[in-house]
Amino acid sequence: MKIAVIPPQYRSAARSVAMLSLGALMLAGCHHKTTVAPAAPAPPTPAPTASLTAEPLAVDLGQSVVLNWRTTDATSVSIDGLGPVAVNGTQTVTPSSSTNFHLVAKGDGGTAEANVRVTVRVPAAPATPEPSNTTTDDASADKVFHQNVPDIFFDYDSYTLRPEGVSAAQKAAAYLTAHPEIKVVIGGYCDERGSAEYNLALGENRANSAKTALVNDGVSASRIRVVSFGKEKQFCSEATESCYQQNRRAQFSIDR
């Protein structure tokens, strides 16, 4: 390694020289389009990518859903029923029936599509009353479950339960003690900052902190499964503290 120590007063000059020689290189390249390759061959225009998510995926009639989409290398993006939209964005919709949202992203490199289906639960007709806790009705069982077993949120780069996390875990433990048939899977999640590998380990610690709280409150460890998703399954993707906070959580689900 060769190292040159450049005094501060010459640094901008050194930078200009570097820029000039870069320019000279590029000019030289122009004379020999086919024979002088730049240091790296320019990658071809990449095909666009698109993703579309809805939260929640199932609602009761009249409730709203937040659509969240991201695209890369797209010049125009449209969603059926909503028309042209920004390349990345969020929109709240209130569908009147179950809807397939279809996103098309067009760019110089091609076209990409993304779909998400939102299920709208229309109240059952009174003529066919059904008990709300049938085993087939997973969605409403999930709803009751989430009301009683709320997500636990964490401070930045921490896996220690905050005071409200401790009380949330107590509420969850009480519900699970009253419903011994339910098995739980705890997902550990992190915000988008930091390293993917480290965040998977941190997410494991978060989910295990929630598990430990439940076990200390009397829930059998054999009913609880832990999965870390790190920052691989983001709930939202804005670079804001409120979004980061929603992602830094241990999320409980019924383990079916």
């Binding site: 120590v5 990658p43 990518t49 780069d157 896996y159 380990a201 610690n205």
Partner: protein, 463 residues
């Protein structure tokens, strides 16, 4: 540097390495200056390719051996690849093609070396030859002449005969470039034939992909339809270890590049991620939370005989063996709060903390065993400015240099086997969907992107 003391057949490379040793000492002195590390860091500019210390080589276009269209196409690919390989190598000052003397020498008898030694080319060496599709074979004759040695100028002569095709023309150019680098570079093998494995994101999934070291020939290795991360190629290039999301969370998976399918690796409880190979290929280290807390474990490559090395509460991840000796492991631990870089002996003893602030991740041990490249956000925190950049730390002294700046969130550095290059990934926000893979010389110069967006977590093959 390993190559420093080796004798070479030309004087300039060994002089170069002695000089490099001297300036490295200067750099360390600068780091120790009482003005404080911040000011000192800002004044350091590094470069292996500045001034007169690199070898000036001219590469005239090869002479066509035939007049057909296929020869023309393959020659274009070959000429471009060879020129680019030598430019990328980090040890040459490659003469611009506009300064090359007229004529297209295809054989030693046609080479007028004196014209290359004179201005404006001023070349110390010239690499030349001929290429054509002859009798259904791609035939390439390559030579290197020392322009200053009038009596015995020939340094290298190689002949290749292969199936014709653009991919093969590129591979032959890579092989000839590696021969030139080995001959003129003091015996260190070139990297033009090496591969880079990486994560490619599309449609919500992440698969493991492979490409040539220069970003060409990008293609998928896995088709698992889930999220796969952290590809690590075995030292003999036969197996690929990685982590993949299944029903029970992330597990270590093993893919055979010989059988072209995943091979058995036992699933255990908890999150199992970030595998790493020992340089002899007989062990892998990885992060496993089978005990309920993520710790560093080591097993043989089939997953047998697992044993735990760390036992501190908090995240432990991203282990990597000392690439030269295999006797030490560097990894990332959050035992004191934010993740920091640590090293220990391969049996878990002798733990040393290497960084003492910021957010450090993703170590990669240099092939000569003396340095660790890693990603570091030295001003990490909610609302704090500054990006995450690639750094190299000399292990013996814990002195570090910053290699990237103002590039967003950079992560996952991985050394090339010759120790002259580092591949890494940068994105505006840390998301794979917007991440590109870059390479640079190990002093931070000659940075360039080699992929489009959606590419992350590069891992350079061992050979």
């Amino acid at each position: 540097m390993e190559t420093m003391d080796r004798s070479t057949r030309t004087a300039s490379p060994s002089r170069l390495f002695r000089f490099l040793g001297a300036v490295l000492t200067l750099l360390l002195a600068a780091l120790l200056a009482p003005a404080g590390s911040h000011a000192a860091q800002d004044q350091v500019v590094t470069g292996t390719n500045q001034g007169v210390s690199s070898i000036r080589i001219a590469i005239p276009n090869f002479k066509p051996l035939a007049e057909d269209a296929q020869t023309g196409t393959l020659k274009t690919v070959f000429d471009r690849t060879l020129f680019s390989d030598l430019q990328n190598a980090g040890m040459f000052d490659v003469v611009s093609k506009s300064l090359i003397p007229p004529g297209t020498p295809g054989a030693p008898s046609e080479m007028r070396a004196a014209a290359y030694a004179a201005a404006p080319a001023n070349a110390s060496f010239v690499g030349f030859g001929s290429l054509g599709v002859v009798g259904g074979r791609l035939v390439v004759n390559g030579f290197v002449f020392d322009t200053k040695n009038a009596q015995f100028p020939q340094v290298l002569a190689k002949q290749y005969s292969e199936e014709p095709g653009e991919e093969m023309a590129r591979q032959v150019a890579h092989r000839f470039a590696d021969e030139i680098i080995r001959t003129l570079g003091g015996g260190t093998a070139g990297i033009a034939e090496t591969k880079i494995f990486y994560v490619h994101a599309a449609g919500g999934n992440k698969e493991i992909w492979e490409m040539d070291y220069d970003g060409e020939n990008q293609h998928a290795v896995t088709h698992l339809g889930t999220i796969s991360l952290s590809p690590r190629i075995s030292p003999d290039n036969t197996r690929l270890a990685f982590a993949s999301l299944g029903k029970s969370g992330f597990q270590i998976r093993m893919y055979s590049l010989v059988l072209n399918r995943t091979v058995a690796f036992p699933e255990v409880g908890g999150t199992n991620i970030s595998p790493a190979w020992s340089p002899d290929g007989k062990q892998i280290a990885y992060s496993s939370s089978r005990t309920g807390d993520p710790e560093i474990w080591v097993s043989d490559p089939s997953g047998a005989e697992p044993r735990r090395l760390t036992s501190f509460r908090g995240p432990d991840a991203s282990p990597v063996f000392n690439a030269r000796s295999g006797a030490q492991i560097a990894w990332i631990s959050g035992r004191t709060g934010l993740p920091q870089l640590y090293i220990m002996n391969a049996d878990g003893s002798g733990v040393q903390q290497m960084t003492d602030g910021g957010y450090a991740t993703s170590p990669s041990w240099s092939p000569n065993g003396q340095a660790i490249a890693f990603a570091w956000n030295r001003k990490y925190g909610p609302g704090a400015p500054g990006g995450q950049d690639i750094y190299v730390m000399e292990i013996a002294t814990k002195k570090w240099i910053q290699l990237t700046s103002d590039s967003g969130t950079c992560d996952f550095p991985s050394w090339s086997p010759d120790g002259r290059h580092i591949v890494y990934a940068c994105s505006p926000n840390g998301n794979t969907e917007r991440s590109r893979i870059w390479t640079m010389l190990a002093n931070g110069t000659q940075r360039h992107a080699i992929t489009g967006t959606g590419s992350d977590m590069p891992n350079w093959s061992w050979k």
